[in-house]
């Protein structure tokens, strides 16, 4: 098997349901997803669409009350059933996660270098102090910081620098798969561009697989090979980044794509595009297509038929009965 087409992450029919006092809450409903080495896959969707729940299952980090069904395989191991010891070995060294709100995930009273070193020590307990130190320096340089920055406390770093530290930490044990949950939210455009460049370089140089979660389709368009759009726990469309960004087929993807105007487009002047309404409550999903109450193209049939994900063209699955109709 060649390295480039090996599947680092495979999700098949993944469903996650939380037990709440008001009954079961299905957060993820039957998601299929594959990330290969050297590939960047993006998942787009708004808050509550289940994308963070999806991330949590990659390393079995979901809360205890979550019922998971379907398959999650990381480097060929069934994450949801392997032993605790195997799972520990897989975390950090096989796959690592850059969490959302990374800016607040660093320990404020510990130097950032020491925080990176901690992950290395846990996984390679035999490594000498000096070796750990040089590895930390190497990691910091890999993410575009100087080794001396390791002496800094989080408050002495800017948002972009903290995000770089988080990425260095994720790389600490040389994982093959990296998952980044909203890696650039709360960062400026210029810093965002720097971080996206960095992530792209790492995938190219290290040949890792990268799964990026974001509510911002334009961020995904910039770095991803493939993008999946999620709505109410389901994938409603998938395709190449360019297809989803410039030629979305599902009305929801169209709304997401339209939310970010092309600067210079006269049609977007004084006409911000939006989508009325809020995402549905997962405990009380609308009948038929769960997007139909907010959909501008909905017809009567939409509230009766829950559309399956159908390939309308090669590599373009879309869950909408109106695609292709006038």
């Amino acid at each position: 098997m060649s390295v480039t087409d090996s599947e680092l992450l495979t999700m098949q029919g993944l469903s996650v349901s939380y037990q709440t006092v008001e009954g079961p809450l299905p957060a993820v409903r039957g998601v299929d997803l594959v990330v290969r080495a050297g590939e960047v896959v993006g998942v787009a969707g708004e808050s509550g669409c289940g994308k963070s729940t999806l991330v949590s299952t990659v390393l079995r980090l979901q809360p205890r009350d979550a019922a998971v069904s379907g398959l999650v395989e990381v480097l060929g191991q069934d994450v949801q059933t392997i032993s605790w010891g195997d799972l520990r070995a897989l975390r950090w060294a096989g796959a690592s996660i850059v969490f959302q709100g990374a800016l607040h995930s660093l320990n404020p009273v510990q130097r950032v270098g020491a925080q990176i070193a901690e992950a290395i020590r846990v996984h390679e307990p035999g490594l000498s102090q000096a070796r750990v130190g040089s590895r930390v320096t190497e990691l910091l340089e890999q993410v575009g910081l100087t080794g001396a920055r390791g002496r800094a406390y989080p408050h002495q770093l800017s948002g972009g620098q903290k995000q770089r530290v988080m990425i260095a930490m994720a790389l600490a044990c040389r994982p093959q798969l990296i998952v980044a949950d909203e890696p650039t939210t709360a960062l400026d455009v210029m810093v965002q561009a720097q971080i996206l460049d960095l992530l792209g370089d790492l995938v190219r140089d290290l040949g890792v697989g990268l799964l990026i979660i974001s509510h911002d389709l334009s961020v995904l368009a910039e770095v991803c090979d493939r993008v999946l759009v999620m709505y109410a726990g389901r994938v409603v469309e998938a395709g190449t980044a360019a297809q989803i960004f410039t030629d979305p087929l599902h009305p929801y993807s169209q709304a997401l794509s339209g939310a970010f105007p092309r600067i210079g487009d006269p049609a977007a002047r004084y006409a911000p595009a939006g989508l009325a309404g809020d995402p549905p409550d997962p405990r009380a999903l609308p009948s038929g297509c769960s997007f139909s109450p907010r959909c501008s193209r909905a017809v009567d049939r939409c509230s009766q038929i829950d559309p399956p994900l159908v390939e309308v063209a090669a590599g373009r699955p879309v869950a909408c009965i109106r695609v292709g109709e006038p």
Partner: protein, 343 residues
């Protein structure tokens, strides 16, 4: 109120505003360094820049939350009065909608209480020409902010609301005072893509229907393209380029604006110019043009080729005036525009 026609002049303006923060070490950081901006009634002004550019400090200074070290802020041509009474009068006319709606609402206050607070403080019931009571004013403000039917939300707490609803409650709180100007700091940066358009449309509607002036502070150039009439681009405490939205975003003159535009994520766009590093420390403002250490035009020799490289490093630039034409504070842009005119 002024007897002369105030509609002609700017509603709110800053003149030569400087704000310095002095650290314990005695180092002074100049967050704002001579800023002239102005906004008229019914106009949408976007102040754009990266973190550390001073855009939030400028916003705070414009609404009187921050006193300028030198220079002044004028409301209809009159300098702000920083007494309790003066500020209270200012707040009833100029309202700020803070960044991060979740953090700005009191979690233990209902929607009704949050909106009614300003109405009580500013005694809006007594001054309402239609003789409405407090409940009616709160309902009207919520409805104007697009929360309908408003009564259903009265007794809700912030944690029961979605992000978009929280943002609307904040805007309703500002609207309840019938301000002439609303200043919104990053109004949509924490919101989902689909809600973003709705909030921006709401700001435009307030301008259309109520004739309000709107100032938005943002790092999002797409937002500016969506709603702003004019743009002021800030870098390290100065306005480095200003003009109408069309001018600044489709024909940017300053290399900094050009770089900002080039990194807006899109598929087919300009060759991205990703600037290295971040906005420098405002206690150590570079000599000459404050952008020169990061300037791509200086690095690639285009400044050298027209003979301004020395000026970029040593000669300070003029402060851009608040009103008028499309202008950039840049040695290179100045030379290029003169040669254009000659040619």
């Amino acid at each position: 109120m002024n007897d002369t026609d105030p509609a002609d002049g700017p509603l709110l303006e800053s003149r030569g505003v400087q704000v310095e923060f002095v650290a314990r070490s005695g180092h002074a950081a100049r967050a704002l360094d001579s800023v002239d901006v102005s906004v008229r009634r019914g106009e949408v002004l976007a102040i754009v820049g990266e973190s550390g550019s001073g855009k939030t400090t400028l916003a705070r200074t414009l609404v009187g939350l921050q006193r300028p070290t030198t220079g002044e802020v004028l409301l209809e041509g009159r300098p702000l009065v920083y007494s309790t009474r003066g500020l209270r009068r200012l707040r009833s006319r100029v309202q700020m909608v803070l960044q991060d709606a979740s953090a700005s609402l009191n979690p233990r206050q209902t929607v009704y209480e949050s909106v009614a607070e300003g109405i009580r403080l500013h005694k809006r019931v007594a001054s309402d020409v239609q003789g409405r009571n407090e409940g009616q004013l709160v309902a009207a403000a919520l409805a104007e902010a697009g929360l309908r039917p408003p009564e259903r939300l009265f007794l809700r707490y912030p944690h029961e609301l979605s992000g978009g609803q929280k943002q609307r409650v904040l805007i309703a709180g500002a609207l309840a005072l019938r301000p002439e100007l609303i200043l919104a700091d990053e109004p949509v940066s924490s919101l989902d893509a689909s809600i973003r358009g709705e909030i921006l449309a709401l700001l435009l509607k307030l301008r259309e229907e109520l004739g309000m002036g709107v100032v938005v502070v943002t790092h999002d150039l797409g937002l500016a393209w969506n709603i702003a009439d004019r743009i002021a681009v800030m870098y390290l405490g100065r306005v480095v380029e200003c003009g109408t939205t069309e001018e600044v975003l489709t024909a940017p003159k300053h290399p900094y604006t050009q770089a900002l535009l080039s990194v807006v994520p899109e598929i087919e766009h300009l060759e991205p110019v990703v600037l290295t590093g971040e906005v420098p420390d405002p206690s150590r403002i570079p000599t000459g043009c404050r952008f020169h250490p990061r300037c791509p035009a200086l690095a690639d020799g285009s400044a050298e080729s027209v003979g301004v490289a020395q000026a970029c490093r040593a000669e300070p630039l003029e402060v851009l005036p608040a009103t008028g034409d499309h202008r950039a504070a840049c040695h290179l842009a100045r030379v290029l525009s003169t040669t254009e005119r000659v040619g």
